[in-house]
Amino acid sequence: MRGENVGRASATGPVVVLGFGAAAVSALCALREAGFAGPVTVVTDAGPEPYSPVLTSYYAGGRIGYGQCFPWKDLDFEALIDDLVTASPVEAVDAGAREVVLPDGRRIGYAKLLIATGAHPVAPGFPATAPYRPLVLRTMADADRLREALEGVQRKSVLVAGTSMVGLKVLEACLDRGGRATMLGRSAHILRSSAHPLVAERLERLLVERGVALRLSQAAVSAAAHDGTRGCTVRFDNGDAEAFDEVVLAQGARPNLAFVRDSAVEVREGVVVDRFMRTSAPDVFAAGDVAQALDLSSGRERVIGLWQNAVQQGRCAGAAIAAELAGRAPTRPYPGSIPSNTIHVQDILFSSAGALAEGEGTRIEASEAGGALTVRAYAYRRGKKQLVGFNVLAVATDGGLYGDAVDEIGAYRREILNAYL
């Protein structure tokens, strides 16, 4: 059931949504909740059911089944979408003509366009290894390949190139599959952008205790594919060489914006948007991992590729589109966000929010009460009045329970946010 037809798409076409991830789905829901009853077209390079990229590592690691990767089972997509174009990338956006161009030359006119195409993994600096193709993890197809690779021989040796959150998620999948994992990173410590060096150092020790090999402050200089079998031998800048069954590149992601060549849509790190997710081009919006929005911690506009941001930006965009189509000004701006993340590796939980680097000083607490290790780092400014970032590292005890520190992470995050909002 659609609401009253308050917003009618202009004669130039429907609302077109590029991408079918968290931002897109959230925008679709918001559009309809706001009462927009006009036609909606979705173009995705994936399949007809949207999946959650956050779940891909759980799937690859065998924790969840394929079916569980699709978190919107309750949604009535038929009520949300009139025309769903699947398995189709976008060739270009013609902002002047208000048209989207598909590779087959088809052009779809739009009244409003939402770019929510997400991101793709990048592998800067990893040497070419043809014919061996290193694995990456983002899409369901990536996850299927990784899953297949990890499922094979027991005790496979896997090189995880990258020490970011994604790297740790891949690592978790490897360990879940019984693999022997090595982490490679250029920095002295893992999680360079979110963890305090002392917290990272403790986390590294925990990983090593769990059988993970670390190659930090190192880079791969060459990778030679093995003959006949999968895998390759990687030579590092310290002179070492080591053979791996699989290499997974987990060095970060870039927005999927290859199709945005029209200079009317300003792109820097991501698509530049205002607080209602409007781009520089008229009637074009962007949300999720493609958009650079306000990072409250640094005060800069940048891409913070988080699920929750994508959902909230998508909602903001959807509501704004519906409002404009109904002839009203949008009212609920996207307030910005702070970096935040939680990551599990086996019995270890690391969480962080805000930016430690923004603090004038950091307080570190470690406790091992009752066998439960927790390490906490808090960064403050304005004396000790304003919390700007924290890390909590905890190891589960008593059959899987994390300590009280973990129960408080939401309150810490809120404390940081409150100071900015």
Partner: protein, 165 residues
Amino acid sequence: MIRKSLCFDAKKCVGCYACAVACMDQNDIDVVGDGVAYRFVAHVEGEDGGDVRIAHVSMACMHCEAAECLDACPAGALHRDEASGAVVVRRELCIGCHACAMACPFGIPRFGRDGTMQKCDACYARTRFGYGPACAEICPTGALTFEEVNDAADAKLKRFGRSLV
């Protein structure tokens, strides 16, 4: 539709824990096994003009109107029950990622030994059929009630919520 909601009056709460245990009973919470309590009672001591004062808070999921946990869950394990307005977790879908814990300012999401999140569902499976939430039904002092939410009660609850954040 008139919606009823759990309301808490801190002035009337004496920290007796009846709500906490009634919740365990209603939800068959195995506190020594896989379960975690959904409702907590805290005692807050302070001073008022030199006199020591004590206040008590009975807390569980607030079922926020703009529930950040709903936005944060990447697994579709949280949804809002439309009839009651309750935010409900489906543990079978939870991957234990703690994103909800990071999103919730009240520290409500808790994780048992199986790693999945557990929390109050406002007894939506009772309220749908005209029964009250176990915690409100048992409260001996009238601190926890299940009432039609009017603007005044709503504002009071929001003030209380903000004071906690």
